[in-house]
Amino acid sequence: MIKVMSLAIRNLLRYKRRTLLTGLLIAVGVLAVIVFTGLSGSFKRAIVGQITDSVLSHLQVHKKGYMASIDNLPLDRMIPEKPYNKLSGILSDTRGVAGFSPRIKFGAMLSNFAQTTNVRLNGIDPEKELTAVPLLPSRIKDPKDPDVLLAPGQVLLPEILAKGMGVGTGDTVVLVANNRDGSVNGMTFEVAGVVESLMGPGGRDGYLHIDDAAALLRMETIEISEVAVRVTDFDALTDVAGRINQVLSPMVTPKGQPVFEVHTWQQLTPFYNVVRMIDLMTLGIKIILIAVVLISVLNVMIMSVYERVKEIGTLAAMGTQPSRIMALFVAEGFCLGLAGAVAGAVLGTGALWILNLTGVEVAFGGAGQVFELAPSVAPGEVLSACVIVLLVSVIASLQPAAKAAALEPVDALRHV
């Protein structure tokens, strides 16, 4: 095996320029795959992390039918107190749930005593909310008290509204809301901070205390619009969602309708399509890599065999077994692929390392959101790119190698 490899390497080095160029081509392909996977992976992590850690959380439970009209923030599809308590017990007992937070979502009129506008609001229990979306405080600009997210009597206003109406932290505003029956109620609040906008559903909502929300909506008993649930292990999200579903789905109304519906973040935000698109592009780049390796190795190996017909005839005449001649040429393709893959892996991880040092900023979305990317690539990804290259190199060498092995020594020796 070693002797076959060593002869193969010598034969590769014989055509230095050709080997170098082909190896370089493969290396550039591997480099492109690694850099792209690194960048796209970190971009994916950044947006998904931002959305799930500060707005949506990982999954949400609603009363059945709520999602269908979520844009209206319907007040007639709420989870009443008793089922909520049951749900809360179930979530506390479910393995893999890190925390959950009940929310009352509703639309209201916001007034600064001069102007009035519409605002979407979340009534939250600040402590519970932080277990579901730990990064929410990072979005609060100019907080009244950095240690207290939100106290009763306070409101966190979305950035665009605050700016448009010229209100800031410490100002007093009035919130007026219609409850489910259509009766109107208004209360004054102190602005405790301004929430930075984020693309996507829920990214431009304000926040107030859940008790205030219940009071404003004149609820006799508490009713919940949604429960945001965070899991301990993001990669196990599907499992946890499945477990929750399993417990919730047998709960039905007297009419036989399910009481709850469960959605993971993928179903809650259109950014999931962006993520899928990125995955698709990564796949596309890998396919291009395969094509590059296949064509370049095949080309080099066909030339190698053609140029060395007489030499192959000599080896065969002396008694070299056809299988060994085949192995010699496959080894040549393998070594070419190996050299390119190793060079590409080194260049690729090096390039990512440099990108990490300089930092990559990507502006994303209309809100001028800037993500600071920390591109990194899992060792498994680098390995998989290398394995692809090696496999394709061997596959590309098979046909030329088989041709070499099938040469009749008499004919090959007469070849000029």
Binding site: V4, L315, M318, G319, T320, P322
Partner: protein
């Protein structure tokens, strides 16, 4: 005991409509240890005969026996194994591997065909390289050698596996007269030293005279039915 026998051997080539008879009903015997030449004009069938002896080709009719083995009955793998074990080859164009040094070229059959260990290979290679007088050039590459030196390395490579028979198709055709003579002398000496049968082809009359026996070929037939000239 004869190392090579031909019994009514014919070899025809088809090229489109016409068939060329390269060998026509040839019968011959070559005893072990002989220094034998096939001579004759171009196209007379020398290479064809040597290819049959070398198990590189199969006769159209008749039987070729080499070292007791009928060559028509072997498949590709078997004939490769047979060549590797019993035969050595010297080519007109030397056919050394350019990427290997002199030592490695001679080592190749032991390494890649007979799969011997390093401890077995080293003394064998050194022995034949010394015998052909190339031991001091062992580290050079073929491109750094003269034609005569290359052919001496090629002879060493043919001998290293200790074959019963060495075949050389026009081994001196690319060498000048004096160098050719030296290579022939070398092969004769090797025959004497290792007791190996040499069979070669040539159309150089000066070389011809050096053979113990020769077969004179013309149009695919043996011209002289006595089959052996010279000694024997």
């Amino acid at each position: 005991m004869d190392i090579v026998t031909f019994e009514n051997v014919s070899k025809t080539y088809r090229s489109g409509e016409t068939t060329v008879t390269a060998l026509g009903d040839v019968s011959l015997k070559i005893p072990r240890g002989m220094f034998t030449a096939f001579v004759g004009p171009s196209g007379s069938g020398k290479t064809t005969a040597l290819n049959l002896i070398g198990c590189l080709d199969q006769p159209t009719r008749g039987t070729v026996t080499v070292a007791g083995q009928a060559i028509g009955s072997m498949n590709r793998r078997q004939s490769a194994a047979f060549r590797g074990k019993h035969l050595g080859f010297v080519f007109q164009d030397f056919n050394l591997l350019p990427v290997l040094t002199v030592h490695e070229n001679v080592e190749y059959p032991l390494l890649m065909i007979q799969d011997l260990s390093k401890a077995q290979r080293k003394p064998a290679v050194e022995k034949v390289l010394t015998a052909v007088g190339m031991a001091d050039q062992a580290g050079k590459y073929p491109a750094q050698l003269s034609g005569g030196q290359k052919q001496r390395v090629a002879v060493a490579r043919a001998l290293v596996g200790n074959p019963a028979l060495v075949l050389a198709d026009e081994p001196t055709a690319n060498l000048d007269g004096a160098t050719a003579q030296k290579v022939i002398d070398l092969m004769k000496r090797m025959r004497d030293e290792f007791g190996i049968t040499f069979i070669f082809s040539t159309h150089d009359p000066r070389i011809m005279d050096q053979a113990d026996a020769f077969f004179h070929m013309e149009d695919g037939r043996l011209k002289d039915d006595a089959a052996t000239g010279g000694a024997s």
